[in-house]
Amino acid sequence: MGKNLPGYFGEFGGRYSPEILTEALEELESTYQKLKKSKKFKKELEYYLKNYVGRPSPLTYAERLTKLWGGARIWLKREDLNHTGAHKINNAIGQALIARFMGKKRIIAETGAGQHGLATATVGAMFGMETVVYMGAVDVERQNLNAKKIEMLGAKILPVTAGEATLKEATSEAMRDWALNVSTTHYIVGSAIGPHPFPTIVRDFQDFIGSEARAEFKKRNKKLPNAIVACVGGGSNSIGMFHAFLKDKQVAIYGAEAGGLGPKPGEHSATLTYGKTGFLHGTKTLIIQDEFGQIVPAHSVSAGLDYPGVGPEHAHLSQTGRVEYRMVTDEQALDSFLEVTRVEGIIPALETAHAFHVARDVAKDLGKKKDLIICLSGRGDKDVTEVLRLLGERK
C-alpha cells in the first residue's frame, strides 16, 4: 500500500474498508500517482482553479478585528470568496478531473453543511456528470438553502434517515452506493477522511490554501506568520492550511474543533480532545466512541463539524503535538459569528466561526507586532436562517 503516497500518518490512516472497494481504491491510488506527476493534469487543475474557482484567494488584513482584539495582527485567508463559497470546491474540481480521467461518468458525495454537496453538484454540472449527494435528513433541514441549490444544479439529493441522520450516516450511505456502483462511479470524499488514498488526495487538493497564504504573507511581510488557525470537522480546510507550514517550527498551529454543548458524550464533536483510537469509514483514527467501541453520535451547531471522527493526519499531528487542538462551544462560535460579521463585514460560516474564537485567544496571547492567519473556510449565507433561529432561542 502506498509506495509513493503515505497510507499512514504515524499509526493512523490506512485502508479499513470493505473488500469490494479495494480495487477501486487501488485504481484511484495509481491513477492519482500518475496524474500527480503529469504536467498536463497540473495545468488543467490550475486552469480551473484560476478561471472557475477564482484562485488564488486573497489574504485580507483584518484591521478592525486586530484593533478590537488588541493583540496580534489578524489576516484572513479568504476561501469564502471561492466560487460556491467555501474551500470544498478545490477538492471537488481535483477529484472530478481524476474521475473524468478514469472514465467514470457518475460522481457521488456525502455532505454535512451542504458545502461539499454544493461543490460536487457544481462540478457535476460543469463537467456534465451524473451527480448524487447523500445528506442527512436533519442537515437537509438545517442547511436547506444548500440542499435547494444542489437540486437546482441538477444533482440528486438522497436524504439519509438512519441513526442521527447527519454527516456520519450520509458518509456510510455514500460508501454503500460506491460499493454497488464502483465500476461506473467515483466517490468524491469531501474531507481528509476515509480509506487511503483519500486523506492524501484531499489534503493535496487543499494544500493550495496554505501554500498560497504562506507565499503571499512572506511576500508582503518578508517573514512568516507567528501562528495559523483553522477549524476542524473532517479536517480538510485545516490540513490544507497547515500542511505548507508544518516544517516551519516557528509557526504555531491551532485547530478549532466543535465543543458543542459541553463535555458529555453525544453533546460535542471534539474528536481530538475526547476521541480514542479506532476504525471508522475506512480509516484508523481518533473517534468518539463508548466503552464498547460503538460510535457515539456527534453534536455541533455547525453541520460541517458534526462528525465523530477526524482525518488521520490530524490524529497524528495531535499525537505528535505539532498542532494544538482546542474546543469551541456552540455559544462561543455563535458569538464569534456575530462579532466577525459586524466588525469586518464578512459573514463567516458557522464552522469557521469556531476558528475565530480560538484565534481571538491566540492573538491576545501572542500580543502586538505578531501575526496570525485564520483560514476563513467559507461564507455563512447558508447559516443565516439557523443563526436567526438560535438567536431567537437565546432571548
Binding site: Y16, E19, I20, E23, A24, L180, E291
Partner: protein, 266 residues
C-alpha cells in the same frame, strides 16, 4: 485441526448452510431462542452478528437490526452470555462472529478472543478488516494460537494477485461475495458467478461459501451446485424483523424458513 476445517472434511453435506442473524434484535433473551431454533432446523455453521453502530458493508435490513439491537444496552458480557447459551444447545455446530473491527479492537484482541472461544466461537468474519493490514496479521496469529479461523471476504472485483496473497492469512472458508454492493436480498447475481467460484476453488485451498443476496430456496439450490456453502443473512433477519415482537411466531417462521433452505441444498 480447526472445527470448521474438520466439519468440511467430514463431508456430511453437499453444501453447507450458514445462516446469520444479529444478536440482541429485538432483545438478547429472544436471540437465544432464535439461535436454538436455527440450529435445530439445519444450520451447519451459524454466524452471529455483534451489532455495530456503523455497519458500512450492510444493507438496510441488517442495518435496522443493528439499530434495534443497540437500543438495548450493549455489552460484551451480554453478547458472550447469549453466545454460550446458543452454543450449549448444540455444541457440535460451529459458531462464528460477524462484526466490524472497531468493537473487537476496543475490547482488546486477546481478551476478546479468549472470551469468544470460551463462549463457543470458532471463527471471525470482519468485513472492514482487509487481510493486508497489520491488525489482520495480528488477529490471524492470535486466532491460530487458539485454533480459531479468520474468514476473509473475496468479491467479484478481487484480482488474482490479491486472492493469492489473501490465502496466506485466511482459514476456515472463504466468504465469496456474490454481487457488488452491500448485504441484502437480490433477484439476480453476477453472470459469471459459477466461473468465479470455480476459479477461486482452483486458487485457494479452502471451501468457498457464497453469500450476499441469497434468499430463496431456488437460489440456494442453484448456487449450491458449485459452492461449498450458502450464507444467508438479510432474508433471515427480515423474518425476525417482520415477526420479532412475537417470539412464538418468529420461532415458527424461522423453523419453516431454515428447514426449507436446508432441504433445498441437500
Amino acid at each position: 485441526m480447526s472445527k470448521i476445517k474438520s466439519l468440511f472434511e467430514s463431508g456430511s453435506f453437499k453444501s453447507a448452510f450458514i445462516p446469520y442473524f444479529t444478536l440482541g434484535d429485538p432483545n438478547y433473551h429472544d436471540s437465544i431462542e432464535f439461535g436454538k431454533t436455527i440450529l435445530d432446523n439445519g444450520a451447519d455453521i451459524l454466524e452471529l452478528g455483534i451489532p455495530f453502530s456503523d455497519p458500512v458493508a450492510d444493507g438496510p435490513v441488517i442495518q435496522r437490526a443493528a439499530a434495534r439491537s443497540l437500543k438495548n444496552r450493549f455489552s460484551f458480557d451480554e453478547i458472550f452470555r447469549v453466545t454460550k447459551a446458543i452454543h450449549d444447545h448444540k455444541p457440535e455446530t460451529p459458531l462464528v462472529y460477524l462484526t466490524y473491527f472497531n468493537p473487537i479492537y476496543h475490547c482488546g484482541i486477546t481478551k476478546f478472543l479468549d472470551r469468544a472461544k470460551e463462549s463457543g466461537i470458532v471463527g471471525l468474519v470482519i468485513p472492514d478488516l482487509p487481510f493486508d493490514t497489520e491488525e489482520s496479521e495480528t488477529l490471524f496469529r492470535e486466532l491460530k494460537v487458539r485454533d480459531m479461523d479468520l474468514i476473509h471476504l473475496v468479491t467479484p472485483a478481487s484480482e488474482k494477485k490479491r486472492i493469492q496473497a489473501l490465502s496466506k492469512t485466511s482459514s476456515g472458508f472463504i466468504y465469496y461475495v456474490t454481487s457488488f454492493g452491500v448485504t441484502g436480498e437480490r433477484r439476480e447475481f453476477s453472470v459469471d458467478l459459477k466461473e468465479r467460484i470455480k476459479f477461486l476453488k482452483d486458487t485457494i485451498r479452502l471451501p468457498i461459501c457464497a453469500g450476499f443476496g441469497i434468499s430463496t430456496p431456488e437460489q440456494a439450490n442453484q448456487i449450491s451446485q458449485y459452492a461449498d456453502g450458502i450464507i444467508i443473512g438479510s432474508a433471515i433477519q427480515r423474518v425476525i424483523e417482520e415477526n420479532g415482537s412475537d417470539k412464538t411466531k418468529t420461532v415458527t417462521a424461522l423453523a419453516d424458513y431454515i428447514s426449507k433452505i436446508r432441504a433445498s441444498i441437500s
